[in-house]
Symmetry: C2
Subunit: 361 residues, 2 copies
């Protein structure tokens, strides 16, 4: 590989790309971005006709382990919307599948685990991921880094609690009853489970970092079901270890969960550089919970996208205004995003217009 003064790829001492002008990285690191960065959770997905076409004949898990498909699907929203970040197309359960857990992703249901994990013996039998098991994902990251030019690539992983909820419940759950019963009723088994899952998450993220991702986002999708006290006792130490173990990569670490208004401070303390905020908490309120010195990401209500452009424009304006107040109150940066994933039936034209609107702000 040749490197010239204008070719910034792989120029960083770590072997990682050096992207000093990327607005996403500037905002995450407290530098002044040339425009407000914006990307969307689930931007690579069913809202895009080109995605639906590609996925028509290929199952979700199969897609996630096909480097060319992962690369193409990850690039689609970057090409279409000109967002300021690509996020690796993947699924929360990919590292579990790779490690050998018997599971499938069932359309209309979500992940289904063949043998739920509910006892100490189940936890002992749980395989831990070794990096070689996610070679297709590492390959996809390498393909993407070569294709993405100056756009940063965000690595993707589920946090230990959310992985645990899938494993213990056997699939998606509304009330997380088995999970919380294990957590409260058998704390030793619980901590052993979350420790094992933290190992897997660390291995998954380190594989992505070694292949060149420019930031990571740790999704604790279900953490909002917990009280802050339970989060701090049973979950935070494990998420903290994940963040600590990837700190030496020197890339921004983003943390997000939906419905986590009560947990924003703790989720920041766990080691995030950027705290993602769902739409329920205005960013100028969120900064008070997170404290100064971190960047915030969010938080347009995704349902707004269906209310017509005038409403979208007004609501984006409100988010930007709240973000500006958060910046005055000590947040070091703002990355515009939705407060949750892109709904599948979103008109992608609206997303493209939101990107333009945020960039012009």
């Amino acid at each position: 590989m040749t490197s010239t003064p204008t070719d910034t790829r792989r120029a960083h001492p770590s072997g990682r790309r050096h992207l000093p002008d990327a607005p996403l990285l500037a905002a995450a690191e407290g530098r002044r971005p040339r425009h407000r960065p914006v990307w969307f959770m689930r931007q690579a997905g069913r809202s895009l006709p080109e995605y639906r076409e590609l996925r028509a004949t290929t199952g979700m898990l199969e897609s996630c382990f096909n480097p060319d498909l992962v690369c193409e699907i990850t690039l689609q929203p970057v090409r279409r919307h000109r967002v300021d970040a690509a996020i690796l197309f993947s699924d929360i359960v990919v590292p579990l599948k790779a490690a050998g857990v018997d599971l499938d992703i069932v359309a209309g249901v979500g992940p289904v685990i063949a043998h739920p994990v509910r006892t100490a013996a189940d936890v002992r039998a749980l395989p831990r991921l070794v990096p070689e098991q996610v070679t297709p994902i590492s390959d996809a990251v390498r393909l993407l880094v070569d294709e993405l030019d100056q756009t940063p690539l965000i690595g993707f992983a589920g946090a230990p609690f959310t992985l645990a909820s899938y494993l213990v419940e056997g699939g998606p759950s509304r009330n997380h009853e088995h999970t919380k019963a294990l957590m409260h009723g058998e704390p030793e088994t619980w901590h052993a489970l979350l420790g094992a899952l933290a190992d897997t998450t660390i291995a998954f993220l380190q594989a992505q970092l070694a292949a060149g991702v420019d930031a990571i986002q740790l999704f604790d999708s279900w953490a909002g079901a917990l009280t802050e006290a339970d989060y701090r006792e049973f979950v935070m130490p494990h998420s903290e270890r994940v963040f600590a173990e990837v700190a030496n990569a020197g890339v921004p670490r983003i943390h997000f969960g939906v419905g986590t208004g009560e947990l924003l401070g703790a989720m920041g303390e766990a080691g995030a550089d950027v705290v993602g905020v769902d739409w329920r908490v205005p960013l100028d309120v969120a900064v008070g919970r997170v404290g100064p010195g971190k960047a915030l990401q969010g938080n347009l209500d995704p349902a707004t996208l269906f209310a017509g452009w005038d409403v979208v424009e007004r609501e984006v304006g409100k988010v930007l205004a709240a973000a500006d107040r958060a910046l005055e109150a000590g947040a070091i940066g703002h990355i515009f995003n939705l407060g949750h994933g892109v709904p599948p039936d979103t008109d992608p034209e609206v997303l493209t217009r939101v990107v333009d609107l945020v960039h012009r702000s």
Copy 2:
């Protein structure tokens, strides 16, 4: 009907029972209860084998319009658990069904509306409830008041926003996209819809009050999907009117929604005497959001009920301790409850033990 000095039924000037010693009413009104009152949302339901037996051959809506069944189902948890309140067995959509909206409750799905309400014409065509349409429910209340001795009966109604979400979406919804699109995109139509639904809710509650309920609870089950700004602009005026229109009954008005941590202050301001709190916000934090002068209801995480008695006992203790701090901080009373409804597969023995534990506290 005979009345003796010891028969307090119907002794109140309003014709309503006078229950000065009922712990629930004392706590709600800022008087000192002889023990801490406790009841459970969805206490009359699938957790009870006697309920499952009664309902085996009768559909949900059919049950809700059968006075004898409503009476029996409402009494079951009072007999079994010795809770401090009965709550009228009903469903959010009962007044809509009674008014003539074409809907059904489908097992495993929830309410399904034949023709979703999405236009100004749909709203104009929406029937409003007249009290005669809920005669079976009024009859059930009268049966219950005669059966309940000193235990208060809480009336039941859904708040306008939650009713609107069912009508606009056509059934239960995760993201309330159509609802929010109507709310933001066509505010006049929205307010007309919520006005009509407030009329129906008021008529439904007034029918229950006229028949003798001792308190009411207004469930805004889905309000937690809203930002506080949207709640205050699009929802609160209508809930406020509901509370105002039933104020002259002089009974405690309880307000609850799940995931409403950001809305607790506004939901109190809407006119509630008692604010129900989901499990995510400790009661000593909730009091700061609600402000002094109101009672709080809640808020054991229902998932705790599956974690074994030692855990239940410890977690109940934490709720009681937080409630005591809330009382010191200005809450005028505490009504123990779960932070959400009783999960269907709860062991009812555990609920009975929780009642005893709270009473001994």
